[in-house]
Symmetry: C4
Subunit: 272 residues, 4 copies
């Protein structure tokens, strides 16, 4: 059993220590090994990313914690995510570029999220994923605790019909602070996620991912709604006629387009 | 078993393919077969219809999805509904006229809701219905999944005492994307609805209808509230003394008038 | 079994018919039998009464429906209540004076609530009651449907420890529209209430009363909160150590004073 | 069995009677025995304390009732808490200094909370505690009624993994108004709390404490959230894989730092 307490693990490949709330900003600065930036990102994409965090807060998917990232539009080995700040407060200028080791490229003194390794390792394992949301939405956590399988309660949650695996951090890492705070843990989480769209994390939260920022946000929101619907349906004490896998595939395809109607609504409410 | 995937079904009578998020705007434009408009609608009615969508959003009955329509006040074979846009964003100028085949008359480039066939076929089958709401309110969906009968928990939900049938799309159409995306499916839904005021749609949502826009909105709202009350009452593990059918008829008659008090409240909060 | 449909019952003592949404305004006007007003009421009390309705709306106890009244400060045989309008819209000028038969004294064309008889008959039977709230708060209705006894879940709901009877309108009046729409029904409700502070009405809602407007509002709010707490506690499947009757009496006495802290908060948020 | 009704108990050491809603302001004024102030407190700390009350209201942990205090930054035998006013209304100038007997030092006519003895006695018993929150958050009360043990449902609620004892006021004090309205009751509550971070109070509410104002507020908020998550998880009817005590210790340590991200969000929303 490997004990992963705070400040106990070396970041693989760069040697700095993870400790405290925020990882040291731009850890390799001055060491001459900081990777080069993949180049500037169109302003509207950066604004959409910061807006996505605020949308997730407005929809009750995140509170003071949680984060959303997107893969760099022109560099598949890079991703973009805010510095460590509450989602509802994120601004376009908070966005940092990371490599897939989750090393910040241009932190310039800004702190990084402790759990950024969730994002880096999912992008590494899943070339189809362009955006990842990590949240602790209260309606979803119960399923991570009991192992009751989440199912797709309606067409908007179609992406759940593929199955929702549960990452149990203690199985490989023993007692921890529950956070995915290094790449080894991120690798394991990405492995449990497999080719699904959502994975739960025991006594912690969940990740949702998708082929675009808009779809990942949509999935994070409707994972939460579907969890609530399932909770109510359970109380009926009757079989639940959830979406079949075939229905899930068909409805998910429709949602890829129709989901933009929700994004249009949500995005219009965020001004910077 | 008929497979109704995306882009697989011809729209009866016009030959265009259903695909993507929005149906092609004004599908018959240029073919010379677009039906003529039944004439202009008083501005205050159009504003009330757009306001109804925003009311449903404010009351939590719809989110980014769902729609409300009204029959054309002077042409029973036409109905009015917004272009495909989130309910909370609807404006009077978004309203489109449709015939009962749900062919847009005056789309002028505006996209139509994929599920407009729900509305057209209910208006066709039910001359008494002047307005239809389609929603996916989270408290109602569980009943569509388990088949537990919804009942009228209090006088405001009196219209439920007549019974609430469940449309199971898969029975006739096999695995689909769950949407009522053509007239054949609309016919089937309208048939399941029969002479009731509300029908559930398995793993999808519900429809509520009434003799006026105001009553349809009222019923959509109190279907949601009654669903929540029933959910709580279930947990008592005791028989539930819901409204009898006789009580339902009497109370529903009162609601036709008294319900305007709620409309007055809701409508006053919407400004264009 | 007496059938009490709409427009079927004569108002005892004045001969007009109850029908439609609003009772005819000032029914005896012109007949020479309208009682005289007990005199003007201080403006601040009238404002507090209208504010109380808005507070109940803000706290989720009422929606478009429900009402609050107070006994006339200088005439025990009169009470004050708004014309028929949604609680959140009530203004001081909406307040009408009623006698205990619930005949409006100064309606001047303003419509009255159909269920004003709840108020008149409670004031008649209970000289200690100075204010009455009638609501359909969703967390309370389940107890009216199942008969599961409401209990006082914490000190703020101490007034429930005396017991919460359920008025079942059908026992005396057969199938109705569920509303207390005449004095005979009001008498029966007041009789079921007895000397308690709150009574439930089957498949309808509840009444809360108190020795002041502030206390009645406090009780209406915490009846709703306590109902929610009990609902959750039930799910634990263990005995619930609610307030004993002795604890209820002691805590209720404290609340009479301490409750003003809540009123101060709520009242300060209402401006006319 | 000791009867602790209103106005029945002498305040130990000063001889005044507890009665009415607010304790007499500055009880020893004029008697020459009022303790001396420990000196002024930096304005930013006083503002943070008033803001903490408003944060707890905004987060739904308190309504018109409940309070938060902090130990005096330079005098361990003193604490600071608002005069008796609803949390959402607290202003920096409402803050009063108390000694550990909960005697106000500088009330100057301002009323004190009836239950301030909760705070004084916890500060006396627990030198490590720098801040205390007392609330009646509705999701937590059920556990106080049934004795079902609260557990840490996710990392944010790690502090619950140490265990959550229940204070049953009636065991030592018989039937009361449920309030901790004197030092003897405060002593008993502090004794039940022991070395834990949160204690429940039967049919009343809870206390949360921490090594800083920020941590106490964080714990009060996530006690409420965790209670809701546990309520939902219970309904799954399966074992709940809550945080182990070891995981709780590790995660709580992380929260001490990371929790500031939530405080930053919450605090930024309060302006005086």
């Amino acid at each position: 059993m490997i004990r992963l307490g705070m400040g106990a693990l070396r970041h693989h490949g760069c040697g700095h220590l993870m400790c405290g709330t925020h990882a040291p900003a731009d850890a390799r600065a001055g060491s001459g090994t900081t990777p080069k930036s993949a180049g500037p990102v169109p302003r509207n994409l950066v604004e959409d990313l910061a807006a996505a965090a605020r949308i997730l807060a407005a929809e009750g998917v995140v509170d003071g914690f949680g984060h959303v990232s997107m893969r760099h539009p022109s560099a598949p080995d890079r991703y973009l995510m805010s510095r460590s700040v509450a989602p509802a407060l994120q601004m376009p200028d908070d966005i940092i570029e990371y490599d897939l080791d989750s090393t910040p490229i241009n932190a310039n003194g800004r702190g990084s999220f402790l759990e950024r390794f969730i994002h880096g390792e999912i992008y590494r394992k899943r070339p189809d994923v362009m955006s990842v949301v990590h949240s602790h939405s209260p309606s979803v956590i119960p399923y991570s605790l009991t192992g009751l399988p989440m199912r797709a309660m309606y067409h908007n949650a179609a992406f759940l019909a593929a199955g929702v695996p549960v990452f149990k951090v203690e199985e490989k890492f023993g007692p921890t602070n529950m956070l995915v705070s290094n790449n080894a843990m991120g690798v394991e989480l990405a492995s449990v996620l497999g080719n699904k769209h959502v994975a739960l994390m025991r006594a912690h939260g969940s990740v949702a991912c998708g082929p675009s920022l808009q779809v990942a946000v949509f999935r994070a929101v409707y994972t939460e709604v579907s969890a609530r619907v399932q909770q109510a349906a359970l109380a009926h004490g009757l079989p639940i006629a959830a979406l079949s896998e075939a229905e899930g595939l068909l409805a998910d395809e429709t949602n890829m387009g129709a989901g933009m109607r929700a994004w249009e609504l949500w995005r219009g409410q965020i001004k910077f």
